[in-house]
Symmetry: C2
Subunit: 359 residues, 2 copies
């Protein structure tokens, strides 16, 4: 069992990485908070797989435990589902001392987190992420969010969990495509901050594809370490946290224009390459580095270009992103693998050239 | 111009009390924050009265200023209106550096505050309260909220404004009934914490009813002082802030059972008397004190009982309140005027007796 600490201005909490749910009860106890009831919020895929296991581990000490599941996927990520969750919370008479468990992937974590953040002006919650993407990225850092009118996470709150409990064995039931989508975030961590980590991923591709538990634990630990360091330093994305948005400026636009038919990891993978082409034009990244990254992404069946979209449409769509400020696009660019910076002064022509290369 | 400071763990901000909008621009400048755009959120009553004045004071320095108004009243306080506000915010391309101005009464402040708290995971906002209730109570302290399925403020967030700017002259256009509703909160401040203040209110009834500006400034200053001290000490209502809920346990139940047809101040006025009858049974408040309070409330045409409700229904309804924890009712009780405490062990019989007296 591995552990990390996230230490933000407002809250300090643990990330526990384990290969089963055996430590969950103990970790909740260690929080040392009064808990009146527990409500698991999950989706219809994860519910039959893992809700029972979680309940079994907790029901002896917390007899008042209930669960709510909604239809999986980004299409459920809206205020209607949030309303259903509120209705469930009221129905279960959850009070200010109740604990929410977000059990599932990124959508579940974002939605359950937002519901916990806004029910009775905020009740406590913990993240139990079951997808690779949520284990290495979205469960850590307190970003909760809901899509609205096609705008991804335009509604949300910064609201830190009390605990992140990662059971790596849940990845066995994760569809390949979802696993690969999570690998995009893992690769991102190497690209923006740690060349050694990037190389370690490259050197262990076979083990990763085999879901070797030891290798997965190392991977998740390293990614969570990078994520927690950034979040501890800059909880509200006023500085370095923006580096985590590498690939997201273009990625979110593609995600919207493709009507959320591509997975998040797939979209940011395309976004990585667009950002690298911008960096290349600015004289900072060689074509061979781009090829190197493309090759790694393709190993995990991640796309590096997108068919059927017009570069001009992608360009305009980027201005609808919440990261856009003062009508300026914010790009995260690389000077080398493992070295990134924020640039909000990229010329339109440079962006358009890059978009042409990925469409 | 009077000023107070609210100093919570997360934010320090000013309350400015003035008799016009002349100081607004300067106070916003003094915040010393980058502002890309300003969006005024208001209702259809306040909009024609004051939006123009506010815009006139700000448009020279902030040309990108827009306003959104929704139909006034508690019936608009729901997630549908919040969705309309989000759509407006997206339409106006508000970004993370945009500033929301909540211009209006309690409903506007709660709703605009919640929208600001959750749009893009939180953008900055200021409160410009135009009703007595919002000036002395709801605009200070960062409680934002939305009703859901008849549950008052069951959805919300703690989210502090950057500034509270009170223009007392807006009270001239406030309907009498609304003014009196605000007086309930003013009287509450005296009842729970400050006997001298309670007496000062009693001694200046005529001036208050005449809307004497000097008297109103004193009143609002004193109430804001009490409110800001409590909030500075206990932002998240984990301790003394609960004292502000005096009258609210019964008040909220009455509000819901009467389908929000009574004003908030009217409901808590009934709640005060219920709480006093509980205190009386516990041997802490005399009948003559109750009469004294009743008389003051009645001076401001505030009800001290409610017709057409069954005590048992009120009793059961109280358990649906978000202040109810572990199925225990929390009452704020008085030992004397100006002296309050929290009691969550009041017997059902005592509560029922009190409810019988007010129905």
């Amino acid at each position: 069992m591995n552990q990390l600490i996230v230490n933000t201005k407002n809250k300090k909490y643990k990330i526990v990485i384990n290969s089963n749910f055996d430590g969950l009860y103990q970790e909740i106890t260690k929080l040392n908070i009064p808990i009146s009831k527990i409500a698991i919020i999950t989706d219809d895929i994860v519910d039959p797989l893992y809700s029972g296991q979680v309940i079994d581990h907790l029901k002896k000490s917390y007899p008042e435990i209930s669960s709510f599941s909604f239809i999986h996927g980004e299409k459920s990520k809206n205020l209607n589902t949030i309303s259903d969750i509120y209705a469930f919370m009221i129905d279960q008479k959850l009070d200010r001392k109740s604990l929410v468990i977000a059990l599932g992937g990124g959508v579940v974590g974002d939605m359950a987190g937002f519901a916990a953040a806004t029910y009775m002006r905020g009740i406590k919650f913990i993240q139990v992420p079951t997808s690779l993407l949520s284990q290495v990225d979205s469960s850590v850092g307190g970003k909760t969010g809901v899509d609205f009118n096609g705008y991804k996470n335009i509604v949300g709150a910064f609201y830190q969990p009390e605990l992140v409990y990662i059971n790596t064995s849940t990845l066995i039931t994760l569809p390949n495509k979802e696993f690969n989508s999570g690998m995009a975030e893992v690769i991102k961590h190497g690209l923006i901050l740690d060349q050694n980590y990037y190389n370690e991923i490259k050197n262990n591709i076979d083990k990763i594809l085999d879901l070797d538990d030891e290798q997965l634990q190392i991977l998740i630990y390293n990614s969570c370490k990078i994520k927690s360091q950034i979040v501890s330093e800059d909880e509200k994305e006023e500085g370095c946290r923006a580096l985590l948005n590498f690939g997201h400026t273009v990625g979110h636009a593609v995600e919207r224009l493709k009507n959320f038919e591509l997975l998040h990891g797939e979209c940011i993978s395309i976004g990585f390459i667009a950002a690298l082409y911008i960096s290349n034009q600015l004289g900072e990244i060689t074509e061979s580095t781009i090829d190197n990254v493309k090759k790694l992404l393709e190993t995990f069946e991640l796309p590096t270009s997108v068919a059927g979209l017009d570069p001009t449409d992608i360009y305009h769509e980027m201005f609808h992103d919440k990261k856009t400020s003062n009508n300026q696009l914010n790009f995260i660019l690389l000077t080398d693998i493992g070295n990134s910076y924020i640039d909000n002064l990229v010329e339109k022509e440079t962006v358009m050239n890059a978009l042409q290369k990925i469409t």
